[in-house]
Assembly symmetry: D2
Homo-oligomer: 300 residues x 4
C-alpha cells in the first residue's frame, strides 16, 4: 500500500521518512548524515549499491537536501546565506574544470504555477555563452553558461528529454544542470526544500508518466538535478493522515482526491521566491567570486 | 469540532452535506429542492427564518448552486448551455427593471491563482456604462453595466467593502453583483460549481477575517453574490477523511496542513475557464438577446 | 500648426522646448531654473499667473522634471540616488504633517505596456493603512499609505476620476499622489524622465479625451502628479522632423501615423524599471528613514 | 542612403514599394501579381534568378503577402475567412504528403510584446505528435505536428537556429514552418499583414544581427517562413517622411530615434490577435477538414 505514497525526495523514502537520518546507519547500501550549515539543515543520503537502490527506490548516487525554512522566518541575510549554501553544495557535486561550459535546463510548464520552478530559475540565470563568444575581452572571466526551457510534452509534442539531448549534442556542454519541480509527502517541505543529486532526473516522473531520463547515460555528460517540492498529492496527504490514525480505509475514499494537489495558499509567490534563490545559487556556483549585487546588475 | 470544517457553500452546511436535498424537508426554517436544468443539476436552499439561519450558518435568502461537471465531459454545447443556465438563474434572483444599471464587483487577488475568479470574470464582462453615456445612439439597447476590481486589503490598504461602497455611492447602480472565489469542503466541486445568492457576501470571509459585508444593508441596493469554490482547506480535507474513518485524532496532526490548500492540478486553466463562463453568463443575464458570438465580438 | 505637437511635459511647451531654461527669464509669468542634484539634471518651471498659463498651456503651479538618463549608463548607485532625489523633490512639493495619511492612485491600463506605469508603481508601494489600523504596535512608525489602481474607462465603464474621488471621500487622506504615463515630444526622454507637479492631473489627457481632473478642487486635498513619458505620438515625431527640415508638408502624410506610437524597443523592461523607481522613491518620501533594503524586505 | 530603410517584406523592397505590382513586370528576374481572394488582397512576388535577388535583396523563391486590413473593419466572418486564406496559401507553398510531420518554430521573445508573434502563434497550435504516438486510435487522423519556442540568444545563450537545427535532427519532420515578427517600412501594415515564403528565414535579421539561417540548406527539409510586421524603425519612418518631402537632411537628426520603434498604440492586443490568426491558419493548413470550433475545443 505504500505505493500510494508519491515523493521525489530521497529523504522521504519509506525507510528514511519520520526517522532521524543518524539512526539509519543500519540500512545496508545507504550512508546518511545530517548537519547544520550556514544556519540551515543539510541532509545527505548516499545510495551506495543495489541494496540501497532497493531501499529508497532511487538510483545510486548522492542526494543532498537543504531545508531552507529559516528563510521564512526572514532571518537577517537568510537569502544570501541560502544562495551561498546552494552554491557550495552544487560545487561539491559538480567538479567542473575552470571555464568548462554548463547547460542549465529549466524543466516544467511555466503556465502551471507549481510546475514553473525550472523556467523561473532559468529567468534568474546569468546566461553568458553568447557573450563569451562575441565579447571575450569583457566576458572572458565568466564560465560559458547556456539556459534552455524545453517546454512540456503537452505543448511541444516532443519530450523534454529529446529536446535537451538534441541541444546538448549541438552545444556540447561539460555538464548539464536540470531544475524541476518535485512532489513531496510532507506539506512542511513545500517551496522551502531543495534536493540536489548527481544522478540526473526523469522529467515529469512525479506525474506518473515514464519519460526519457536525463542522466549521464543519455546525455553523455554529468547531470546534476536540482529539485524543489511544490506539491503534495492530495491522495498522498490523505493516505498519510489515515495511516497516522492507524487504521485501514478503502481506496475509494482516497481516490476522491485524484488530480488534486496540496500547495501553500500563496503558491505563486512561494514558487517565484524559491526559483529566484535557485537561479542565484546556480550563478554563484558557476561564476567565480560574484556577489548578489553583481547578479542583480547583470540580470537587470 | 465541526468548526474545523470550512465551506462557503450553503449546500455543504452540516445538516445538508452528504444528504439528499429532497430528504431535508424536515429541517425547520429551510426549504430545499434539486432539479435538472439544461443538463445540469441545480440545487436551491432557501433559508426562511432564524431557525434556518442557525441550521446552515448563513443569512436568510436563496442560495442556488449549479453543478457544471458536465462541462468537463465536454458535452456538445455545454459551455453555451451553462452560460444560459447561469443567466436564467441570475435573472430569477435579480428582478431588474429594464435598463436599470448594474455594477459588477470582481473580488479577490488577481495575482493569486485560486483567488482570481472575480477579476477574470470582470475581464469577460461587457462594460457599457461609458458607451451608453457617450454613444447612446449605438449603445442605447444595452443595460448600463460597470465593472470594478477592488483589489485586496494587502495591496490597497483599503477593504474591498469600503471601495465598493464608495464607488456605489458615486455610480448609483440599481444592483450590485459581487463575484468571488470560495472555499468548499469537497474536492469534487472545485472550479465546477457556481453558487448564486441574493444575500450579499462578506469578501474574504473564507480566509477567516471578518470584513465589511457587501449586502443591501451596507450598499443600499440589492447585492447578488456569485461564487465559485476553487480550494479546499487542507485541514478541512484532512478532517473529513479522518471523520469518515470514524475515529478521533488529535488536532496537531491536522494543523500540519495550516495554510495549505487543495486545488485541482491544473488550477490556472480551471480558474480561467470557469471565470470566463461567469463573465459570459452575466453578460447574457444583463443584456437582452445577445449570443456568445456577440460577446466574443464585443470583447475582442 | 503647433497644435499637432502633443506633450504632457511643461518643459516641452513651445516657448521652453529646445531652449536653455536659464534663457527663458524674459517670458512673463514663468520662473524657470535648472540645476544638477545627485548627479541628475533637475528643471523647475513655475507657472506664476495667467500669462504663464497661456505660455505653457498648463495650470499655475510647480513642475519639476528629473532627467534620469544617468541610470542608463548604470553608474554606481544610480538607482539609489535617483530614488533619494525623487523622494526629496516629492517632499518639497508635498508638505505633509507627520503621520498624515496619503492615497496613491496608479492611473492607466496595466495591460497596455506603455500605459502601465501607474499600476506597476503601486505594485512597488509600501501600503500600510490596514497594518497601522490592525497592528499599531508594529506599524505605528509608518505613515498610513493606501494604494488604488482605478483601471481605465474602457474596462470599468467609470472614469478614473470618479473612482478616485469616491474612494477619497471614504478614506479621507491628507493628500493624493497620482502616478500616470505621459506623452513626450522627445524620444530621448522616454522612460527616463519624471515630471512632478503640485497641480494635479487629468487622467488620459494625453490621449485626447477630456476627463474629470484630479486636483485639489475636485478631491478637496492637495494632489501631486508624478508622470513618466513612455511614448511619442508618431504624428508628433513626424511633425518635429519635418519642421526641423524647414518646410511645409501637407497634413495627410502626417496622418498616416495616426494611432501609432514611438517607444523604446524594449518598452516592457523600461516601463518595469522606471515604475519600480517611482514606487521606491514614493516609499522613501512617505516613510521616515527607510532604506532600499527595508523596502525590498517589506515588499517581498 | 536607401540602406537606412529597414523592411523584411519583399513587397516593400525599393523597386516594388509605392508601385502597383502590376506595373513591375519590366523588372528582370521578378514575376509579380496581385489578386483579391476571400475579400483580402494577396500579392505574390517571385524572385526568379540573381537579377531578381539583386533587385529585392532577398533569396530566390516565392513571397506571398496577405493584407488583412478587412479584419479591422470587423467584417462578418473576417477571422474565419482570413484563417482559410492563410491555410490555402500555406498549402500552395508547402506540398506535404499526407500525414508527413511538421515542426512549427515560434521565433522571438515572448516577453517583448512586438517580438512575441512566434511564441503566441505556437500557443494556438494544435500539437499532436505525442498524441499520435500514444493514442494512434484517437489521433490517427491528424498530421504529426510539434511546436518549439526556441527563446532568444540573450536569454538562452544559444542561437535559435542552433536549437531548431538540433531538434530538427532529432525529431525529423518533413518540413519546418518558422513564425516570426518582422519589420516593415509602412505603419499601415503593422499587425495586419502576413508574409509567407518558401525561402526560410534568418531569425532576428531585422535587428541587424547576422544569425544562423533557417532554410532547406541548414535544416535539410523545406522551411516555410510566416512573418508579421509589428514595428517600423523610428529611423525608417523618419527617413521616409523626409524623403517624401524631397530634401536631404543630415544623419544626426535621424539617429535621434535609434533604438526607437513605431507600433500601434494597442500593440499588446494587436499582437495577440494576429498571432492567434496565424496559429489557427496553420492548424487549418496542417489538419484536414477541421473547423474553428474543432480548434477551440482542442485548445481549450
Amino acid at each position: 500500500m505504500s505505493s500510494r505514497i508519491r515523493t521525489d525526495l530521497a529523504i522521504e523514502a519509506e525507510p528514511l521518512f519520520r526517522t532521524k537520518l543518524a539512526e539509519t546507519d543500519s540500512i545496508p547500501g545507504l550512508r546518511c548524515k545530517e548537519e547544520s550549515r550556514r544556519g540551515f539543515s543539510v541532509s545527505t543520503v548516499e545510495v551506495l549499491d543495489e541494496r540501497g537502490e532497493a531501499a529508497v527506490g532511487k538510483p545510486k548516487g548522492r542526494y543532498i537536501t537543504l531545508e531552507l525554512g529559516a528563510l521564512l522566518r526572514r532571518e537577517e541575510n537568510a537569502f544570501a546565506e541560502a544562495c551561498a549554501l546552494l552554491a557550495e553544495e552544487l560545487r561539491s557535486l559538480l567538479h567542473l574544470p575552470v571555464f568548462s561550459s554548463v547547460l542549465v535546463a529549466g524543466l516544467g510548464n511555466r503556465d502551471i504555477t507549481p510546475d514553473a520552478v525550472g523556467p523561473i530559475a532559468v529567468d534568474n540565470l546569468m546566461v553568458t555563452r553568447h557573450l563569451r563568444q562575441a565579447l571575450p575581452e569583457h566576458f572572458g572571466a565568466f564560465r560559458s553558461v547556456s539556459g534552455l526551457c524545453s517546454g512540456v510534452l503537452g505543448t511541444t509534442g516532443i519530450e523534454s528529454g529529446e529536446i535537451i539531448a538534441a541541444v546538448c549534442k549541438a552545444v556540447k556542454p561539460s555538464a548539464v544542470i536540470a531544475v524541476d519541480a518535485l512532489a513531496s509527502r510532507s506539506t512542511d517541505r513545500l517551496c522551502r526544500t531543495v534536493q540536489l543529486s548527481d544522478t540526473g532526473i526523469v522529467p515529469g516522473s512525479g506525474v506518473g508518466n515514464a519519460r526519457l531520463a536525463l542522466d549521464e547515460k543519455t546525455l553523455g555528460v554529468p547531470v546534476i538535478a536540482v529539485g524543489v517540492p511544490t506539491v503534495v498529492d492530495a491522495a498522498t496527504l490523505a493516505y498519510e493522515l489515515i495511516r497516522d490514525s492507524g487504521l485501514e480505509i478503502d481506496g475509494d475514499a482516497l481516490n476522491s482526491g485524484a488530480n488534486m494537489i496540496v500547495t501553500p495558499r500563496d503558491i505563486d509567490k512561494n514558487v517565484r521566491d524559491i526559483s529566484k534563490l535557485i537561479g542565484y545559487g546556480l550563478n554563484m556556483a558557476l561564476h567565480e567570486d560574484i556577489t548578489l549585487e553583481d547578479i542583480d546588475m547583470f540580470l537587470s
